[in-house]
């Protein structure tokens, strides 16, 4: 594998920095060594926190408790007489194990609740450290065996920092990173396009806990003393987080810059201020939160200053640069939609979807009432009904977003009831949302590439992005490939919805009002799209739409819902004669429905 994200210049500068920092051990005094050591430890903590926060958007305020757990585990085993490498290995295993256990309950929570629960871990751990005194020596703390390890811990911290940085680069370019970014934007949509999100969430927590644990062990070893207050105290726990935010969360250089600047300020205060250090520190944290929660590197003047502007680059900009380079190189090879979707032979005799007695109620409100129908392969079926008649609820039940209260859904003879959303997506059901939900802070191309990365055999992000250009052309957004999707218009977002659903290479596509709001010409184009994906690529389509003229051009059959009940199911001409349909949906001859 070619590590395409590391170029020669970076290797050169990186080795230079590494050598310089290694040289410190030989030539600098103890004071400088311990200061740089502190910076390295902060960097490991800050960067590992940002894997969860910057990439996945979860604010883990209890990150520091893994630092404490690591320090305690390492210290306890070292005191027990284990060798340092055994103790370190046990630390790795046990910290990871604890992180796995903790992740299950924690990930039931989102947003503020996640933030608060993780923060509550700190006082909990502190109480445990004080009270489980037979293991932790309580308030006395743990005194490590006397060893001269300052050079060793320094070198280890240096190596670990470099690994953290390289790992960050890798995460940004990998499918893993894209999964995290999908989760950050919209967890439900991530699942619906086929990403199994929970393992990614656990993995990133374990990874970040592991690095925090190692940092804790190294720091404890170097200082040869830890106590509950110093590794679980609130006044120290939020420092690495403040550093990341100060620099710029989710940016390549953000954590590093934040750590270096704040650590220097902290050091200056330690030397020059004899009192009120916590107050000044609190003031700094407060001001960072108040004035620059986005980070220093996102400030306008950094972008404008020539020799600093590289620091302000967001991750997707790196990706875009690299992509543009490789597109120029490989322009001879044009990928068509055909290459991505392949062809599927249609056998009209095969049942693709069977819904049997689907009922879905929310409290007392019955949204779907005993709905049964069948769809054959290769059909285009229009699903109509007044607003609130249950069309979208039906889509939600089929795609696994809701579990039906009762009834069975079978897709190609597989029962869907036990399947998760991502499994349903993987076996071939794609959907769009009525209100478009593209991943806002990703580009158009990244949005379209996402299902290509996670569906089927799974392409690498680079390959997927190149392939996604064919989709961008298909949905007529090729001129906006590199634009963040949250800056687009509603119609363009709907186009992304549609393109992303096709990118999943589904055999059944659920289309939810993509055409409403389009001009007549655009509607006709969209009808053409639907026809194309059926005729050329063998995709079966269920299309919810209020623009009746659009439906009539392309559907083989209509299904009509009225207040949760299926009132008609048949060929267009037949349904249009049905009086119930006329009354409920089209309006009667007088133009007013009978209430």
């Amino acid at each position: 594998m070619k590590l395409s994200y590391i170029n020669n210049q970076m290797v050169f500068l990186g080795s230079l920095a590494l050598l310089g920092l290694l040289g410190i051990v030989q030539f600098a005094n103890a004071y400088l060594i311990s200061f740089v050591f502190t910076i390295l430890i902060y960097y490991i903590l800050a960067q590992s926190w940002d894997w969860i926060a910057g990439e996945m958007g979860y604010v883990n305020l209890g990150h520091y408790c893994f630092y404490g757990i690591g320090a305690y585990i390492f210290g306890i085993f070292l005191v027990e007489g284990y060798t340092s490498s055994t103790a370190m290995l046990l630390n790795i295993v046990m910290t990871s194990f604890i992180a796995i256990i903790i992740s299950y309950p924690l990930y039931r929570l989102k947003g503020d609740y996640f933030a608060f629960a993780t923060l509550a871990l700190l006082p909990l751990m502190e109480v445990l450290a004080y009270n489980l005194s037979s293991i932790t020596k309580g308030g006395d703390g743990i005194v490590f065996p006397i060893q001269k390890v300052s050079s060793l811990t320094y070198v280890l911290a240096l190596v670990l920092s470099f690994i953290s940085f390289i790992l960050t680069l890798w995460i940004n370019r990998s499918r893993f990173g894209y999964a995290l970014r999908a989760i950050r934007n919209d967890e439900e949509v991530s699942e619906v396009i086929g990403i199994k999100i929970f393992p990614y969430k656990v993995k990133v927590l374990v990874l970040s806990a592991l690095f925090a644990g190692l940092a804790g062990a190294l720091q404890g070893w170097q200082m040869s003393f830890i106590d509950p207050g110093s590794v679980f105290g609130l006044n120290v726990a939020l420092v690495p987080i403040a550093m990341v935010l100060f620099g710029g969360s989710g940016m390549r250089w953000g954590p590093l810059v934040g750590v270096i600047l704040l650590a220097c300020i902290q050091q200056w205060m330690l030397v020059n201020l004899k009192m009120l250090q916590t107050t000044i520190y609190g003031l700094i944290i407060l001001c960072i939160g108040r004035f620059m929660p986005g980070g220093l590197l996102r400030a306008g003047w950094i972008k404008k200053t020539k020799f600093l502007s590289f620091l302000s680059k967001e991750h997707h900009e790196y990706m875009t640069d690299q992509l543009e380079k490789s597109v120029i190189q490989s322009d001879a090879k044009q990928i068509s939609l055909q290459d991505i979707l392949g062809t599927r032979t249609i056998n009209r005799q095969i049942l693709i979807l069977e819904c049997e007695h689907i009922t879905k109620s929310f409290g007392g409100n019955v949204a779907l009432d005993d709905v049964s129908f069948k769809i054959n392969q290769g059909e285009i079926v229009g699903l109509i009904g007044a607003n609130g008649s249950g069309k979208t609820t039906l889509f939600n039940c089929i795609s696994g977003v809701f579990k039906p209260t009762s009834g069975k859904i079978r897709f190609l003879n597989q029962e869907l009831s036990g399947k998760s959303r991502d499994e349903i997506a993987q076996i071939g059901i794609g959907r769009t949302y009525q209100l478009p939900r593209p991943f806002g802070d990703l580009t158009v191309l990244e949005n379209l590439a996402m299902p290509l990365m996670f569906g089927g055999e799974g392409m690498s992000p680079h390959e997927a992005l190149i392939n996604a250009r064919a989709l961008a052309t298909f949905i007529k957004l090729s001129n906006k490939e590199m634009v963040r999707s949250d800056s687009l218009s509603l119609q363009e977002k709907k186009a992304i919805e549609f393109g992303r659903a096709i990118a999943l290479r589904p055999s059944l596509l659920l289309v939810d009002e993509v055409a409403s709001g389009l001009t007549p010409i655009e509607v006709n184009q969209f009808v053409e799209h639907i026809r194309t994906i059926r005729n050329h690529y063998g995709v079966t389509v269920i299309w919810v739409e209020h623009i009746f003229s659009a439906l009539t051009q392309v559907v083989d059959r209509l299904i009509v819902l009225d207040t949760g009940r299926l009132v008609a199911d048949g060929p267009l001409a037949e349904v249009l004669k049905d009086e119930k349909v006329i009354a409920s949906y089209l309006g009667n001859a007088k133009g007013v429905t009978n209430a």
């Binding site: 608060f116 004080y130 609130l234 520190y281 960072i288 939160g289 929660p293």
Partner: protein, 291 residues
Amino acid sequence: MISIEVLAQVVLGGILIGGLYALVAFGLSLIYGVVRILNFSHGTLLAVGGVLASTLYATWGVSLSLMTLLLTPIFFAYGYLFFKYLLEPLSKKNHFESTVGTVLVTVGALLIMSDLTAKFAGPAQKNINIQFDTFEISGVIVSTTQIIILLGIIFLTLALHYLLKLTWFGRAVKAVTQDPLGAKLCGINSGKIKATTFAFGSATVFLASILYALSFPVDPYIGFGLTVKAFTIIILGGIGNLPGALLAGIFIGVAEGLTGLFWKPEWAPALSVILLLIILIIFPQGFQKSK
């Protein structure tokens, strides 16, 4: 064997401290309901207020009523200004930035407040050292302090309850809690309501701090533990639900007392954290939203 009198004594103590927890929780609950901000420095206001009141009483002999009259408006104004100048501007940023921004601002305030308090009043434990009579009701020793605290808790709960129920302000708070945009469209100046709610929350905590310091020791660093307890209480009792918070507070207070009695007192602080985690795990959205 623990006698029934000792048990009653512990339960009474638990009710008192639990009622005080509930007073802290009221403010946090109002603030979280209206502003959707977790104010990590909320409990620290009790620490500051308690230390301040104890010091004023011990050093200059300022009477409790004078203290209340003078300092309540100051805490009220502090809450108003803190929200208006430090927190409200963050609500215009994107979601991630406003979440971490408010965490840093409120945690920063927490660190500053406890450090300054420790600097000026010393880090040692204090309380308002007023001697009251004690009397005995069938073997249980009750002091007049405890009666005063109990009456104070009841009075403050009722006052807040009726403030929210009967006044225009209370209805506006309810409207903003349920639907900030809708409230705005109905002509409620939600920015002002939010700041005022913050101010009421802070003033309530100060009043609670005087009651607290009457019979429990305070120091500059007890704040965060109280915030965790208050948060547990509002999740247990329902956000914006004052009677629920009072019951939940008393439940936690009594449970802590019993933990100390039947097991070890040093485990009592862990109780609310563990309870909080368990509740959050069973009801990931709190009690209110889960049906």
